[in-house]
Symmetry: C2
Subunit: 343 residues, 2 copies
DNA sequence: CAACTTAAGTTAAACGTTTATATTTTTGAC
DNA sequence: GTCAAAAATATAAACGTTTAACTTAAGTTG
C-alpha cells in the first residue's frame, strides 16, 4: 500500500514544483493551460485528494460547518432532538459535493451554547456556524456579528445589524391556522407554544393576539401555554385546560409532537376529535397524516429550510452579503379534518 | 485582539522550549512535575487550546469520528432519519469532554456508503467510523477490518473476524413479543420487518420462525413483510394483510413509525385496537406511549446503545481489542394494553 | 573520583499546504 | 538578433505540532 499522494508526489511525477502544482489545483490563472491539464491528469491518475489539515494549517480554513444544538436533557426526552436532526441531514445533503462537512456541537443550555460558540470563534474551529433556536435578544448572534464570523440562523432575532437567516413565516402560519379555526366557529382557541425566550414563540403569540383581536375575540392568557414542545407537554396542557369552566374547543399546537400529546390526552379522557374539541398544528415532519385521526396542519417539509440553510452558508463563505441571504418560507395548509365542532 | 496562543507563546512565556511544552501538555513523564505545573498554569492563563490541524498534520490524528448514515431519499420520507439522529446525539454526548467530534457522512445507498468509507480510510479523514445498519454479509466491515481501521457497528454481522459492536438483542425482543402474543391467544401474527439484507431483519425473522415453531404454530410467509420502516409501510401492509381470508389478529412492528402506520390503518378502516386486532412494537423513542391507544412495546431508549457506541469508540482508539467491545442490550417489555382480543 | 547511568531539557526536522519573492522562460517590438 | 516586459515556474518560508536525536546536569557506583 503506497503512501497517499501529496502535491509533492505530483510535483515529482510531472517534474514541476509544488508551488505550480498547488496553483494548478486551485485554478490559478498564472499557470499555463497545458501544464495545468498535465497536473490535473496526474492528480487524477494518482487518486490525489488534498490533505485538509495541511490546508487548514496554512490558510486557517477548516472546511467544517458547526451546527449548534441545544437540548436540555438528551436522556429524558427521546423525542427532543428529532427536529434538529432533520436539519443536520438537509445541510449535510447540500454540502455533499463540497469539501465541507457538518460537525455537531451539542449544548445543554443557552449559556453553554454561547461558550461553545465563543470557543469555535476564538479557535477558528469551523468556517461557519449554523444556529437554530434563536432568541428574541440573542447574545450569540451579537457576538458572532461583532467578531465578523460567518453564520446563518434558523429563526429570526431582533438584531440591530441584519444577518443571514432562514425561517418559516410564523405570523402567516398563526393567522392561517387561527383564522381557519375562527371561521369554523371556535371562540376558545388554546395555543401550545414554545418558551417565550425564543423569537418564534413571541412572533407567534403576537400574531395570535392580533388575529383574535381582528376577529373581535378576547385574548385569554390562560389559554396560552409555553414549554418544551414534547408530547408530554401537549398532554399535560390538555389535561389542565380541559378542566376549565370554559375549556378550549380547539388546540393550536406549535409542532407535531405536542399535537400528538394532545391527541393522546383526548384518548385518555374519552374526548373525540371533532365532537369535543379539535387539534391543529404546525408540521414539518409530515407525520401527522398518520395520527388517529389525521389532523389539519400547516406543513413545511423541514428539508426545504435546511437545504437553504446549507446553500446560504456556502454563499456566505463565498463572500456574499448576509443581508442578501434571508428567506422566510410559507407553509401549506393541509386540510385533513373539517375542524368544525359538530353539535 | 491578540493572536491565539500556541505552544510557542507558552515556550516564550516560560522560557522553556516548545518541545518541553508539548511534552508537558501531553503528560509525558520526562518533564519534571514542577515545570509541568508551571507550563499548565501559563497555558491556562493564556487560554491555550491546541490547534488540531497542527496535531493532525504531525500525527495523522484527526479527532473526528465519522458517522455513516444511509438514507435512501432524505426528501421523500421525513421520518426516515429520526433513528439515526438520536444515535448522533448519544455519541456526541459521550465525546463532549474529549477533543473528538462527530462528523456526519451521508450516503444514499449501500454502495455509496462503501465509497465514502473507502475515502475516509484511504485519506484518513477520521480516526474511527461508526456504522449503523449492518448487513448480513457486510463488505464495508470486511474492508475496514482488512485495513485495520477502527470502527464500531450498530448491529451485528456475519464477519469471520470479531469486531466491536453494539446492538439490541433482537432474538430476545422477538421471542418476548411473539410469546406474549401467543400467550394471549393469537395464532395469526404478522411481522412487519426491515429489509432482509439487514442483519437484524434476518435475526428477527429467524427468531420469529423459531418462536412460532416452539409454540406449535405454522409459519406463514404471507404474514411477513419487509421494507423501509416508515408509517407508510405500516399502513400499506395493514391494508393488504387485513384483506386476507384469514387475516392476522396481531401486528408485530419493528419500530414505532411502522406501528403508527398500522394504527393509522386501523383508524381508516374502523378497526378497534383490542377488538379487531392488536399492535405491538419495538420501541426506542418511547413515543408510543402517546399513541391512541398507547401500545405495548419492547423498549430500549436509544440513548443507551448510542452512549455505549461512543464509549466503545473511545476505548477502541485507546487500543482496546475489538472483541472485548461487544454489547447486546435487552429491552424491557412495557405493557400498555392487554393485547388480548375480546370476543 | 573516574566512569557510567539517568533525568530533564533542547534542537531541528518533519507533516502537506500556500504564497511572497525570486528566477527562468517566453513573447513581442525594434 | 537583442532587449525589455510579461508570463510561467521555482525557491523557500511559514502555519502548529510532535518526536528522534542530541546535550547537559545530576546522581550513582565501585
Amino acid at each position: 500500500m503506497s503512501p497517499r499522494p501529496t502535491i509533492k508526489t505530483i510535483a515529482k511525477e510531472t517534474g514541476l514544483s509544488t508551488a505550480t502544482v498547488s496553483k494548478a489545483l486551485n485554478g490559478s490563472p498564472q499557470v499555463r493551460p497545458d501544464t495545468r491539464d498535465k497536473i490535473l491528469d496526474v492528480a487524477k491518475k494518482l487518486g490525489y485528494e488534498m490533505n485538509l489539515s495541511g490546508v487548514q494549517l496554512r490558510t486557517g480554513k477548516t472546511h467544517q460547518i458547526a451546527m449548534i444544538t441545544v437540548i436540555s436533557s438528551p436522556h429524558d426526552d427521546e423525542w427532543g432532538g428529532v427536529g434538529y436532526a432533520q436539519l443536520v441531514y438537509g445541510v449535510s445533503d447540500v454540502l455533499h459535493d463540497t469539501p465541507y462537512r457538518v460537525v455537531q456541537y451539542q449544548a445543554s443550555s443557552y449559556e453553554e451554547s454561547f461558550d461553545i460558540i465563543k470557543r469555535i470563534v476564538a479557535n477558528r474551529k469551523a468556517d461557519g456556524i449554523i444556529l437554530p433556536g434563536t432568541r428574541v435578544k440573542d447574545k450569540r448572534v451579537e457576538f458572532m456579528q461583532a467578531q465578523d464570523f460567518p453564520f446563518v440562523t434558523y429563526g429570526l432575532t431582533e438584531a440591530e445589524v441584519p444577518h443571514a437567516y432562514v425561517d418559516t413565516h410564523n405570523q402567516r402560519i398563526v393567522s392561517i391556522c387561527v383564522e381557519r379555526l375562527i371561521a369554523k366557529g371556535h371562540k376558545r382557541i388554546a395555543m401550545l407554544n414554545a418558551d417565550m425566550v425564543l423569537m418564534y414563540s413571541r412572533d407567534r403569540e403576537n400574531a395570535y393576539r392580533q388575529t383574535l383581536q381582528d376577529a373581535g375575540l378576547k385574548f385569554d392568557p390562560s389559554l396560552v401555554a409555553n414549554g418544551e414542545l414534547t408530547p408530554a407537554f401537549g398532554r399535560e396542557q390538555f389535561f389542565e385546560m380541559s378542566m376549565f369552566d370554559d375549556p378550549p374547543t380547539a388546540y393550536f399546537c406549535a409542532n407535531e409532537a405536542t399535537a400528538m400529546g394532545v391527541l393522546s390526552g383526548f384518548h385518555v379522557r374519552g374526548y373525540e376529535h371533532g365532537r369535543d374539541a379539535v387539534v391543529i398544528a404546525t408540521d414539518d415532519l409530515n407525520v401527522s397524516q398518520y395520527f388517529s385521526p389525521p389532523i389539519t396542519t400547516c406543513y413545511l417539509p423541514i428539508s426545504k429550510p435546511s437545504q437553504v440553510l446549507g446553500e446560504f452558508m456556502l454563499k456566505l463563505l463565498n463572500g456574499e452579503a448576509p443581508e442578501k441571504l434571508q428567506k422566510l418560507f410559507v407553509p401549506d395548509l393541509i386540510e385533513r379534518s373539517s375542524d368544525e365542532l359538530r353539535k
